[in-house]
Symmetry: C2
Subunit: 369 residues, 2 copies
């Protein structure tokens, strides 16, 4: 810490400038209400003393912090520090949301407190964050719903991504998600109707992820609509949804007995990119021999060759929407039952599905219910 003793407080400033602590407080809270000369004098002393108002005391007294929070799971696997891929990937989900929230929060005069779950202290994470913010967002599956439920009775909470919790358990928490179902359905429809796909293979995850499930259901729906027969299960489920797993999945699907699928539909971009590499090594042409699609719209998807057709998720918007909701609740502009906002996604048609790189797009998904 610095040198000199304890940090100066309102009392110190008040004393040295010959006013009461109330006046010092007013200089900061309502500058107009104090006579200019007095104000200047106080500010001068404050500056000389190195006075900085204590956010804690201020928050305690005024019952609000001016801070919004975000809790997210710890995606990064420490061992993979060196792997740039891991970084890129991780860079997407949480970081984009952070960025989106930070921007939106700033616009409304809030700062952002972020904390990733740490397998550690008892119910530590959320409680810690919750106790320091006016309201916060939580990435799905970061913390037990029961806990959120309790907390959301006291302050606004919004759940990001994941499914809307059943209304009876989710007491007062709002919800923001992207149109996973609609996006995958639209993309699959495009493959079938515009590119004549008949034997698509879906590659999902073995981890339980509502988002991935929703995507798969979208895939099934599109197949159903078009009369394309597919199993009620993904052709393959992998563990981690990484590039490596995607490559492996592509290999597996090629080796598999019977006719090769005419399209590999991956649940995320990372896997699709890995598959692209694997297919290239194998000499399988994309989109000549097989079509490949991803989901997420990460920057990499635009840069790989062939460029990847995917569904773009508005991550920044996700964060922004969360903040909007929180601010509305805090300002009292919105009251009443929890809402669920669904953000539309965009199908980005690129080379890997057989389209040119025209980036033609179609939106899918809708608003609030």
């Amino acid at each position: 810490m610095g040198a000199s003793g304890a940090a100066p407080t309102v009392y110190d400033v008040a004393e040295r400038s010959g006013v009461s602590i109330a006046t010092v407080s007013r200089v900061y809270r309502m500058p107009e209400s104090v006579r200019p000369e007095t104000r200047e004098r106080v500010l001068a002393v404050a500056h000389a003393l190195g006075y900085v108002p204590s956010g804690n005391a201020r928050g305690l007294a005024s019952r609000s912090t001016g801070v919004l929070g975000l809790c997210f799971p710890d995606y990064s696997d420490p061992d993979a520090e060196a792997a740039e891929d891991a970084d890129d990937a991780a860079m997407l989900y949480s970081d984009q949301i952070i960025r989106g929230m930070e921007r939106a929060a700033r616009r409304h005069g809030y700062a952002l407190l972020i904390a990733a779950s740490l397998k550690g202290g008892p119910e530590s994470l959320v409680a810690k964050v919750a106790g320091r913010v006016d309201g916060f967002a939580v990435l799905a599956r970061t913390v037990p719903t029961a806990e959120l439920d309790v907390i959301s009775r006291r302050q606004p909470v919004v759940m990001l991504a994941g499914p809307r919790e059943s209304p009876d358990t989710a007491d007062h928490l709002d919800h923001v998600e992207v149109a996973n179902f609609d996006g995958q359905r639209e993309l699959t429809r495009h493959l079938i109707e515009d590119h004549g796909v008949r034997r698509p293979a879906y590659v999902g995850s073995s981890e339980e992820s509502p988002d991935v499930e929703a995507r798969f259901r979208g895939f099934l729906a599109a197949c159903g609509d078009a009369g394309v027969e597919v199993a009620g299960e993904p052709a393959l489920r992998v563990g981690m949804m990484t590039q490596a797993e995607g490559a492996r999945a592509a290999e597996a699907l090629c080796e598999r007995a019977g006719e090769r699928p005419d399209a590999f539909v991956f649940a995320n971009d990372q896997m699709a990119v890995g598959a692209l590499h694997a297919l290239e090594r194998r000499g399988v042409k994309v989109p000549g021999d097989v079509l490949v699609t991803g989901f997420d719209g990460i920057p990499l998807s635009r840069l790989v060759r062939p460029s990847l057709t995917t569904v773009h998720q508005p991550m920044l918007r996700l964060g922004e929407a969360a903040v909007e909701l929180l601010v509305e609740r805090l300002s009292g502009a919105r009251t009443g039952d929890p809402v669920s906002v669904m953000l539309p996604v965009t199908v980005v048609r690129r080379t890997s599905c057989g389209c040119g790189d025209t980036e033609a797009a179609g939106a899918a998904g809708a608003a609030e219910r």
Copy 2:
């Protein structure tokens, strides 16, 4: 906000579980010191009531918040929302640092409060952050040094990047930077010695940026070492250091009268990538006709064709180093004069300088002074 009235406090929990507020507090702060049965009873009541300790009150009473902060300038230009390039680029500086700090902070049990400067309230940003955290980092040029100076007398502050402030003004603030000079010097040396470059052209920025200046000085030093004659000024200065400006710079350098430079040395990767595109359009071969290098080591640098030779900056480490410093100060493990840590950078040799894509590397830069 939720439904029911005010949030429950220790008093409510204490009353309903038949103990004193001190005991309730102990249940959270020193669980071992309270008899198991009592503890369970309290926890049960707390949970039933939806009790969450107030971070503010806790912080006030204990004089510490368990939160570290980061202040950074608002890079993102709102108009460029749609431009994906802008996103990618912006994603790098602040976001990587955020990520690095968050991880490191988490390891030490701290959460992270982030806030970007908003051209707004009087001395708002830093004061707001400073008042809510135990210590914080500031990206160079985000706030006036004078203010930091005052604040750093009361709590640990770390300045990121930028130059070390002159010791007399920088009272107690530690400093972390990357070896801009050494990195650019080493890269330039490589161009000259290993690729026979004789007429390198440096493209810098017209904005005053200590980092960019340091790089340029590194460039000059290498030229001087090798007896290569160059002007004492960059061949060109651009405004924004964006891809668009980089492309324009490349055009300009090609049009310029006299012999074309044999290497374009850009002050960052963004510009270099823009230049790569411009040169391709012009039919100028890289590295055949001219060599191109960047600085930063953004993910994109690896993906463009030809892959970009650059100097990789350990952004994550920057954030981590800042946290380490803060934690050392807070724990009392480090006392005394402010230190300045310089993080080594890595020259990444790729195709654009004429090397294979072998990613051979050489470190440059050193530790603490």
